[in-house]
């Protein structure tokens, strides 16, 4: 009974809180720019509206055009459920779940790209190409980060792995993961979620042709992914596991908020990087993770 209740709670957290983050980010940006900006709950309204709207399908699109977002959404949700939520812990945790998490995100990527290419549009093809290509570098960084965590903790279970060692390693890892977060969630400086230059976009341009409920799934999935990454980042660098229940929860929430604010600040203070500089940024992130790995290695050896 309690199991099911806990599970439902986690589900609720992921499903309900996720759309909050983009709202917060936008608020921060507006505040920095000195505007009032859209309400924090804007995304909730959008989702609700989209869920009620009809769908316009491209004449070329196959059923995969609707299945894609669905699968992607499920994949992200499943990945999220594998991730422990501070005191709540993970819905399901077993040896090697971290690998499953990484590959679930890959599945989401596959489906988004698939759906994007359904329409035979040049823009969306371009977006998909960028998505999968940058993912190659991001993947390297993520795997290295995971390797670091597992070498720190000597374990392959997320719950145990997210017991970070304070120090340089944590800092390096934090910066590295933050960069990966920006890249994977298509934020500035990798992508500009609210530009109107399709040529410069990745994620937004991939979903140009989506509409209605599928589009809602896409947006919600993106929000969940953002939340997932920030939670991962926070737990990877903050020693939350050592705290007591309430404190841990508070710390986690605070951390996530910090991350979101940081994202917002980055978006408002930095310009989008030119595309040829993107690989450079990602490589930097990868290298940061590698250094973190080396630190972890020495730490473990000592």
């Amino acid at each position: 009974m309690t199991l099911i209740r806990e599970f439902l709670v986690r589900l609720a957290v992921w499903l309900l809180l996720a759309p909050l983050l983009p709202g917060i980010i936008n608020k921060v940006k507006a505040w920095v720019a000195g505007r009032r900006g859209p309400p924090v709950l804007q995304l909730y309204y959008d989702l609700a509206r989209l869920w009620r709207k009809g769908v316009v399908l491209s004449t070329l699109a196959s059923p995969g055009f609707i299945a894609g977002p669905a699968v992607a959404w499920v994949a992200v949700l499943a990945a999220a459920l594998l991730l422990p939520l501070g005191p709540l812990g993970a819905a399901l945790s077993f040896r090697g779940d971290v690998i499953l998490l990484v590959y679930l995100l890959a599945l989401a990527r596959f489906c988004t790209a698939w759906a994007a290419l359904e329409t035979g549009s040049a823009f969306e093809g371009m977006g998909a190409a960028r998505e999968v290509s940058y993912a190659v570098l991001a993947e390297a960084a993520v795997i290295t980060a995971v390797l670091t965590l597992s070498m720190q903790s000597g374990s392959l279970v997320l719950r145990a792995m997210l017991a970070p060692a304070a120090g340089t390693g944590a800092v390096l890892l934090a910066v590295g993961l933050f960069t990966v977060l920006l890249a994977e969630n298509c934020r500035v400086p990798f992508d500009d979620p609210n530009t109107h230059l399709e040529l410069t976009m990745i994620h937004e341009v991939m979903v140009l042709d989506h509409s209605g409920p599928p589009f809602a799934a896409v947006l919600h999935g993106a929000a969940m992914k953002l939340l997932l990454f920030s939670v991962l980042l926070v737990q990877a660098v903050l020693p939350i596991g050592k705290l007591s229940g309430i404190a841990a929860g508070g710390a986690l929430i605070a951390g996530v908020l910090m991350v979101t604010v940081a994202v917002g600040l980055v978006e408002s203070l930095m310009a989008r990087a030119a595309f040829r500089r993107v690989p450079l940024l990602l490589t930097t992130a990868f290298l940061l993770c590698v250094f973190a790995l080396l630190v972890a290695w020495k730490g473990g050896a000592a």
Partner: protein, 649 residues
């Protein structure tokens, strides 16, 4: 003794099939399917815990007693031979029928059964001499299958390249087996860890079998052969034949005493094959070439697993080594299954459109939904994405890698880069297969070739569905497969205790099943919701293009440009670009060619040197009799000098 009967039955049936192939297609199909089924049955029985079958003949072949042995390791591969051999035979009935190929269909059938039989014998032979015989026979029958369509020049060239490379490997095996026989004093094969002096032979074996396995620098023959062979042949080549090289490596790395650093080298080669294979496959514009290079990548993944296993063996500690080895073995099956599935799919595309150029296709899903969905299934599986089987085996390998790294031991130096390489290769493969599946099946038809096509019939569809089903089974019930994996592990190296299955395997299966259900629910829900909200079709919006044409679509080349650009140092793409000029540009074109780097940059120059020598020698023989006498005298002098110095010492 039932096993003996079963085996002899299978062999006899396949021989009969090989003979009946030319004239009696129906009988041939029945016999081949029966024979392969018998192989499969025998293999599963052995894997299911049956005692290893060991048989010595009374008579001698080539002055050596026949010695056949079916232990778990052989059985593991034999099962694959059975599955792909049988389904390929069914597929060929429609794909390569007498009606369309009157000249080569019969030959194709005969050689097919021969190939299957010889691969089975390679797995069974426990005597070096007969192993070599079966090996070469298998290589030759593969050659004849590749060149079925021998009226095409490029097919002949590809076939010759394959034959040449394979013969180089075979001569390596000549050296390997004769050195082994010279070392141990007999052609008999078996565990020989008590002969430390034969340890260096592992390197010879690595070359000999590596050529066949398509290991990275030795893969030169693979792309063109797989691309130009008939698709069912490509399927068995890529799904099973190259696994024979792997079988050799696994087999003898289990039997031979291993030299210092064997594991490191294998791991390194595996990592290189994985990343570069994936990069090459992403860059290809020929559908079957893309699949072929992806085989190189998957061989790399398997070799990574094997390498970790060897490292584990070397460092005595067994847990992670065993995991990675298990992953490698499982990936052998998985890759065999979904790669054959993909080649079958590519075959039906080729059959429908008559071209392998992806940039000529597009929008095929409408005409061939079955092929499209099965190909998509295969793409997800081969990109090692959950909830399919590719992920299961890679997951095992990852477990092994991570555990090894967590040990903070010396091996981590090799393990960490390998892990990262595996991750990168996975991402690249994903990109490659997004490209393959979408460019071929989605969007609008780019040329007339893609315009009016037909779905393949049931004879071609059924094998694909069957293979997909097996993939799904492995994906959803890995716990069932696990005990089967343990037997080859135990047979591979008895030193390992393999009683405890890693608990999460069951969990993983459950998770994957749950994932499937969730996906189904969500898809249906979204679909219903959209329908209730009302769906209408319209032109692709694409930011308001009034009349998007098929030529505005992203092509495969442009899709891959970004990522393959990062590998330009090895891909060395050759581009010819004519910019549009003036207000009304008359012509502008862009041609890109991805060369076979190793072949053209390494083997080419080498062969040039040899051919120069050959030309020089020919120049010496221009029909002048005095010269000939001079050579005779020179020979006399040389022999004299040799004798004088020889007798001095």
């Amino acid at each position: 003794m039932t096993m003996g009967w079963l085996m002899s039955f299978a062999i006899l049936v396949l021989v009969a099939a090989a003979l009946s192939g030319a004239r009696l297609p129906r009988l041939w199909l029945a016999l081949t399917v029966t024979g392969t089924a018998a192989f499969l049955g025998a293999a599963l029985w052995t894997l299911g815990g049956g005692a290893a079958w060991d048989w010595r003949s009374g008579f001698a072949v080539g002055n050596e007693r026949l010695h056949l042995r079916l232990d778990a390791v052989s059985a593991w591969f034999l099962a694959l031979v059975g599955v792909v051999g049988g389904s390929g035979a069914i597929y060929a009935r429609e794909y390569w029928p007498d009606g369309e190929r009157p000249e080569s269909a019969g030959r194709g059938r005969g050689w097919w059964s021969t190939l299957v039989l010889c691969m089975g014998l390679v797995l069974l032979c426990a005597n070096g001499l007969h192993f070599l015989m079966a090996w070469e026979a298998f290589a030759l029958s593969a050659y004849f299958l590749i060149t079925l369509e021998r009226e095409r020049r490029e097919t002949r060239a590809a076939g010759w390249l394959y034959l040449a490379a394979s013969h180089a490997g075979t001569l390596g095996l000549f050296a390997f087996f004769s050195l082994l026989a010279a070392g141990t004093g007999s052609w008999e094969l078996g565990p020989m860890r008590d002969h430390p002096e034969v340890a260096p032979l592992f390197w010879v074996a690595l070359f000999g079998f590596g050529v066949k396995a398509g290991m990275f620098p030795l893969h030169i023959w693979l792309p063109s052969a797989h691309a130009n062979a008939p698709s069912h042949v490509s399927a068995i080549m890529s799904g099973v034949a190259i696994k024979m090289g792997l079988y050799g490596l696994i087999r003898f790395s289990g039997w031979l005493p291993l030299p210092e650093g064997a594991g490191w080298v294998v791991l390194g080669l595996g990592a290189a094959s994985a990343v570069l294979g994936a990069a090459f496959s992403l860059a290809q514009n020929d559908l079957k070439r893309l699949l072929a290079y992806c085989s190189v990548e998957n061989m790399g993944i398997i070799l990574i697993g094997l390498g970790v296993g060897l490292l584990g063996l070397a460092s005595g500690d067994t847990a992670w080594g065993r995991l990675a080895m298990a992953g490698a073995l499982l990936h052998v099956w998985n890759h065999g299954l979904f790669k054959s599935l993909l080649f079958f799919g590519a075959g039906s595309v080729l059959h429908a459109t008559g071209t392998r150029e992806m940039s000529r296709m597009g929008g095929l899903w409408r005409a061939m939904p079955w092929t499209a969905s099965l190909f998509a299934f295969g793409s997800v599986a081969i990109s090692a994405l959950p909830p399919l089987n590719g992920f299961v085996s890679e997951w095992l390998i990852y477990l092994g890698l991570f555990d090894a790294a967590a040990g903070h031991t010396q091996v981590a130096v090799a393990i960490v880069p390998a892990t990262i390489a595996l991750g990168v290769a996975g991402a690249l493969a994903l990109a490659a297969f997004v490209k393959a599946a979408t460019v071929v099946f989605l969007g609008a038809a780019r040329t007339q070739a893609g315009a009016h096509v037909h779905e393949c019939g049931w004879w071609m569809r059924a094998p694909m569905i069957g293979l997909a089903a097996v993939c799904a089974f492995i994906a959803l019930a890995p716990g069932v497969v696990w005990p089967f994996i343990q037997r080859p592990l135990a047979a591979w190296n008895p030193a390992w205790s393999v009683d405890d299955p890693p608990a999460p395997f069951a969990t993983l299966g459950a998770v994957q099943a749950a994932l499937v259900i969730l996906i189904a629910v969500m898809v249906v829900a979204l679909w219903l919701r959209s329908r209730t909200n009302g769906m209408r079709r319209a032109l692709t919006w694409d930011c308001g293009y009034a009349a998007p044409t098929a030529r505005m679509q992203y092509t495969g080349g442009s899709f891959a440009a970004l990522a393959s650009g990062w590998f330009a140092w090895v891909l060395r793409p050759e581009r010819r670009l004519r910019w549009p000029r003036g207000p009304f540009p008359r012509h502008a074109d862009f041609v890109e060619r991805i060369p076979e780097t190793v072949l053209e940059r390494v083997i080419g120059p080498l062969s040039d040197v040899v051919m120069t020598a050959s030309a020089w020698v020919r120049q010496r023989q221009q029909g002048h009799l005095p010269d000939y006498i001079l050579y005779l005298v020179a020979g006399l002098a040389a022999m004299g000098v040799l004798v004088v110095f020889g007798s001095m010492r």
